[in-house]
């Protein structure tokens, strides 16, 4: 039996019963076992249906924007959810005291589509064991390399557990350093090839806003990209470049590398490469070892009166 899930149900049930949270955000049963859905438990009964297994994919942090308005919310947090929450708190969009974090140690989420493709049939269960993933099917258990089964974002993950939690479901796993192999490969291409790469991918963009609406850093009350004075509603390639590059600049230095934009994209645009390019540059130019983790003095979001360049050129008043 799934002990982690049973423990989570019990913790969430108690939090709700004691009135410490008005809602608990986690995962619940979906159309099939490989697709648990974001779940919002309001009572012990609904907490009793919480799901916690390697198929829990969607990012949850952004739901806190809506769900902390009526009182504190509980949330089960993997590392990505934890960083998303830190982002929302740092941006003063969610009060930390309005969230009760149940931290978990995540070993990566299995991509339901990859799993089905690999197994060639419906998949009922999954177990991540080090470098392999065991998938349960009607025809028995099948083993595949972890790198073939997990969501893209989980393959690059350096944050299996949140950095802080109000209670831990299990012993948290330590963070690691992010690598930027994909960006390095892209940087080696010449400008024409890089342009061709992005043109090919961005040409598919539907401008559905799934990326923006998945992003814990895209938490503005009103988005400039909804304003036709900034971005017209035409949907040519130039508009798609404008949309995605503007968004990447807006979240530069604030992206927590949760990868939810790329997971949400219905047409497979490798959006994290844009965000990782900024992260890598920030790491190298500002000597910030973990640019995706919100920090006290954010390299692009912090001004110091001692800045050698001043507030702006010729301005001595600061």
């Amino acid at each position: 039996m799934n002990e982690r899930q049973a423990k989570l149900r019990s913790i969430a049930g108690s939090l709700l019963a004691e009135g410490r949270v008005s809602l608990f955000i986690g995962f619940g049963p979906g159309l099939e076992p490989s697709r648990p859905v974001p779940w919002f438990a309001k009572n012990a009964d609904e907490a009793g249906k919480l799901v916690l297994d390697p198929f829990c994919g969607p990012g949850l942090a952004r739901y806190l924007l809506d769900e902390t308005a009526a009182g504190p919310a509980g949330i089960v947090a993997r590392g990505c959810d934890g960083l998303g929450l830190e982002r929302l708190v740092a941006d003063k969009r969610v009060g930390r005291d309005q969230v009760y974090v149940v931290g978990v140690a995540c070993r990566g989420a299995v991509d339901p589509d990859k799993a089905r493709r690999l197994a060639g049939r419906p998949v009922f269960g999954a177990e991540v064991n080090g470098e392999t993933v065991a998938l349960t099917t009607a025809g028995g258990r099948l083993s595949f390399p972890r790198s073939d089964c997990l969501l893209d974002r989980c393959l690059a993950c350096a944050d299996p557990s949140p950095r802080t939690a109000d209670t831990w479901l299990e012993e948290p796993l330590p963070g690691a350093q992010r690598e930027f192999e994909g960006v390095e490969a892209l940087e080696k291409l010449g400008p024409d090839d890089r342009y061709a790469f992005w043109a090919r991918h961005l040409e598919r963009c539907l401008r559905c806003h799934a990326c923006r609406n998945a992003c814990p850093a895209c938490n503005c009350v009103a988005c400039s990209l909804d304003n036709p004075e900034w971005l017209e509603r035409t949907t040519g390639l130039a508009d798609h470049f404008m949309f995605h590059f503007t968004r990447a600049y807006h979240v530069a230095g604030r992206c927590v590398a949760c990868g939810e934009c790329q997971r949400a994209c219905p047409v497979g645009i490798p959006l994290m490469l844009l965000n990782e390019k900024f992260m890598k540059d920030i790491r190298d130019l500002f000597a910030v070892p973990d640019p995706h983790r919100p920090q006290e003095a954010e390299p692009l979001g912090h001004f110091s009166p001692d800045d050698p360049e001043g507030w702006r050129e010729g301005d001595e008043t600061l």
Binding site: G30, L31, R35, V37, P38, W39, F40, P58, R62, Y63, D66, E67, D113, R116, P122, R200, H201, R204, L206, R207, C208, H209, A210, R212, N213, A214, D226, P228, E232, R233, T234, T235, E260, R263, A264, P266, V267, G268
Partner: protein, 336 residues
């Protein structure tokens, strides 16, 4: 009914392409999309292309008119007529989706000229299904894997090619142009196989009692509960072969500009936002409810058919798994 060998397909598209822009399924970064065909490999191993037929007949943005000048010497020019196009490789559900859009835009009191022109300029060569996708549920919505609605020619995949059958006069005409590629069909086996194809997910669903279930359901707390997980993006509507809502907007540079029409989604929070600031559907609950009631209740009431053809795109692609199959399943559970 005729038989066409698989190897003759490029010749067929090339022949039809002399008079029209041809679209065909192409593989790109592991995805299959309907793309302008310029002789590249034609994808065959797919269930549904990522983009439905909708975008080719009812583009994401299109010009209504062009204008130059200002208050004094304004001149308007209607958007040029669309060029003829032939689309090969869409599925019966998507073609049925076109037929649904046509019901709304062509058969009501208002006839949408932009849609009419492009629909009439389009020849739809549909490939019927021999294999269901994991998220296909067409039969539950009254659509069959061999549905002919909205198609001009049906292609039924056979062992070494296709059984080919014209559905409309336009389809007949297209087949006459390529008569040399067609042989008499030995039997109707391939068509029968498509017509009889089982759709496993659809077998778990029913819409028989839906009308009764939705009676008085408008204010049910279900909508608030299910809408919590919606992220108010447009993935569902933009992938949907039947969603047809659009907005009109202008773009201009100096004294030249265009009036355009483009897809909109009832899930966007500003979908109904009016001048003056009133928003009739400010909450996710209202917007999500609208999406599903439109397809399951208003559409049958107004047009006699569900506004969903069961293609499964929303099921596969909604980033929060809030889709038609989830709602149909839930509705069975929450009502007595």
């Amino acid at each position: 009914m005729k038989l066409m060998r698989a190897g003759a397909l490029p010749r067929l598209l090339e022949t039809l392409g002399r008079q029209a822009q041809v679209y065909a399924p192409a593989t790109e970064d592991g995805l299959v999309l309907l793309r302008p065909w310029t002789g590249q490999a034609i994808a065959t191993s797919y269930v549904n292309p990522v983009n439905s037929l909708k975008g080719l007949v009812y583009p994401q943005t299109e010009a209504v008119l062009e204008f130059t000048g200002g208050d004094e010497n304004l001149s308007l020019r209607e958007a040029p007529a669309p060029a003829p196009q032939v689309v090969f490789g869409g599925r019966p559900c998507d073609a049925a989706g076109l037929a649904l859009i046509a019901q709304v835009l062509l058969e009501g009191t208002f006839v949408d000229e932009l849609f009419r022109r492009r629909r009439e300029a389009t020849t739809v060569l549909t490939v019927a299904c021999r294999e269901p996708g994991p998220y296909c549920f067409c039969r539950a919505m009254g659509v069959s894997p061999a549905d002919e609605r909205g198609s001009d020619v049906m292609f039924y995949p056979a062992d070494d090619g296709y059984l080919v059958e014209a559905v409309t006069a336009r389809g007949e005409e297209a087949l006459q142009a390529v008569a040399g590629l067609l042989a008499p069909a030995p039997d109707t086996g391939a068509r029968d196989a498509c017509r009889e194809l089982r759709i496993p997910l659809a077998e778990k669903l029913t819409t028989d009692r839906l009308a009764a279930r939705l009676e008085g359901f408008f204010e049910h707390p279900y909508w608030e509960q299910v809408a919590r997980r919606c992220r108010s993006c447009g993935t569902c509507a933009y992938l949907c072969p039947t969603c047809y809502c659009t907005a009109i907007f202008d773009t201009s540079r100096g004294t030249r500009g265009r009036r355009l029409r483009g897809w909109d989604s009832c899930q966007f929070k500003d979908f109904l936002l009016m001048a003056g600031g009133h928003n009739p559907r400010p909450a996710k609950k209202q917007r999500v409810r609208n999406r599903f009631l439109h397809k399951l209740s208003y559409s049958p009431a107004n047009h006699g058919a569900y506004g969903c053809v069961g293609c499964g795109r929303c099921v596969e692609k909604c980033p929060a798994d809030l889709h038609m199959v989830a709602v149909l399943t839930d509705l069975g559970e929450v009502l007595p």
